[in-house]
Amino acid sequence: MNANRYRRGIDIGLSFLSIGLLLGVWQALVYLHVYRFAYIPSLPEVVDAGRDYVFSSDFVSDAVASTLRVLAAWGAAAIIAIPLGLAIGWNKTFSDLSLPTLELLRPIPPIAWIPAGILFFPNVEGSVVFICFVGAFFPILLNTINGVKQIEQTHFRAARCLGAGQREVFRDVVVRGAMPSIIVGLALGMGIAWMALVAAEMIAGQYGLGYMIWRAYSLAQYPVIIVGMVAIGLIGAGMSACIRLFGRKLTPWQSQ
């Protein structure tokens, strides 16, 4: 309909205006030296620094290192947390045996594990991956548990009526029924792992995007900080989008 197209046009226009305003206010504050905004790099400086930096080998190796760390940690968390969550959600006895301990550890934010992580692992690589792992682990675990708990009892009963044994109930009801929630957990876990990564690299790292913005700060290359932040945001958003896309493929019955 015309009215709809008109409306969508306005929305797109407003989006540009909105982002334009954000950038504009930033520039105005910097150029007018409001409070300490004089210290903050301006857009042209950031663009210049970005042009130099994005094509440098430093940037590529930082980005690759960060991405690999996050993927390793997130993958390990998924491999451990999904089966664990399925078992906890499905089996009351198993849940009694493991959930209290996990509940005890859960309120400790991943960042608080940084010193312990460094202590546990002889090298930086191991501790950074461990901290990201802790970040990704709990969202995936909790969403998996919830996913199993939310499966209607009817579906368990129907499967058993149809002659499914324990193994088949697990395969055809528990795993598939919890899938939508697991995917939500995987996306959330990726977000938090990415956040933990930045912190871990900043505090303990030797390279990676988090370390890069920290080094830029120490070396007073201020525009590079913002370039790094944009890169972190873009890569993180890209990975979340991949998970959502993959998740939609895995759960074709979920209507949008």
Binding site: A159, R160, C161, L162, G163, G177, P252
Partner: protein, 275 residues
């Protein structure tokens, strides 16, 4: 065919809740369902109809009495037998797996019981779906169909394994009048052509009389069998019979019996809410 009767003898069920202590849900219920019979149980909500059905299905334990299907003992105090394909249930809120297509749902039983290979089961299921006019929707997910359609698929899924008894727990409750009447006729035609024993629970007296061979009325909690009414209408049934004098007489009789219990249950419910 392998349809069997169901014998429910002196079944009593007590359970303990934190709020009201020990509750007597079923009190000495005895029903004998004959092989190939369509037995309907009506009664006010909360009277324990579903509990009784769950005991027969093997979802729930009983406190006293016993249940057998054919010659097999199903439940006795302290023991229950696992639910299985001999006692298939059609659920109140729909039991189709939302993550499987219609065809996968219908095939599931034969494949998981290793009665048929997947390919054979698919052919078989396709044939069955085609016979009842559901061929076109076999690749759809349950979330993409109307609730009336889901009900029909679920009935087909239940019947494909030739259960000894089909247990139906208010399966048409959420349907509107039009869909309900279509699915009722659908079930009647299947009952006429497939030998099976059906244990059917409903609130709807019209539905009870239209479908059943006998209708049992349950009292409000604790659930007891109050009366069992023989439905003297011939088969195959048609909607035209709903105007007959026989039908109206039976309906008046049942209405009175059930209404009396409903009023009791309603008063009990208000008392509960006031606490």
């Amino acid at each position: 065919m392998n349809a069997s009767g169901v014998t429910i003898r002196h079944v009593t069920k007590k359970y303990v809740t934190r709020r009201s202590g020990e509750v007597l849900a079923l009190d000495d219920c005895s029903i004998v369902i004959r092989p190939n019979e369509f037995f309907v149980l009506v009664g006010p909500s909360g009277c324990g109809k579903t509990t009784l059905l769950n005991i027969v299905a093997g979802f729930d334990a009983l406190t006293f009495g016993d249940v057998s299907v054919g010659n097999d003992l199903i439940a006795a105090p302290g023991v229950i037998s696992d639910p299985g394909p001999d006692r298939m249930v059609v659920f109140q809120h729909g039991g189709l797996f939302p993550w499987m297509t219609v065809l996968e749902n219908v095939c599931y039983g034969p494949v998981v019981q290793k009665q048929m290979t997947r390919a054979v089961a698919r052919d078989h299921a396709r044939g069955m779906l085609a016979r009842v006019g559901l061929r076109e929707i076999e690749e759809r997910y349950p979330g993409e169909m109307s609730s009336g359609m889901r009900r029909r698929v679920e009935i087909i899924r239940a019947l494909i394994g030739h259960p000894k008894v089909l247990l139906m727990d208010e399966p048409f409750r959420a349907l509107d009048a039009l869909n309900k009447s279509v699915v009722q006729e659908f079930l009647l035609r299947l009952f006429d052509t497939h030998a099976c024993t059906i244990f059917f629970i409903t609130h709807d007296l019209r539905e009870a009389l239209f479908l059943g061979d006998r209708v049992g009325v349950m009292t409000t909690r604790p659930g007891r069998v109050k009366t069992i009414v023989d439905v003297t209408l011939a088969r195959p049934r048609s909607t035209r019979m709903l105007d007959s004098r026989d039908f109206l007489g039976l309906k008046a009789q049942l209405t009175e019996e059930v209404h009396e219990e409903a009023l009791k249950a309603f008063a009990a419910g208000e008392r509960e809410a006031a606490r």
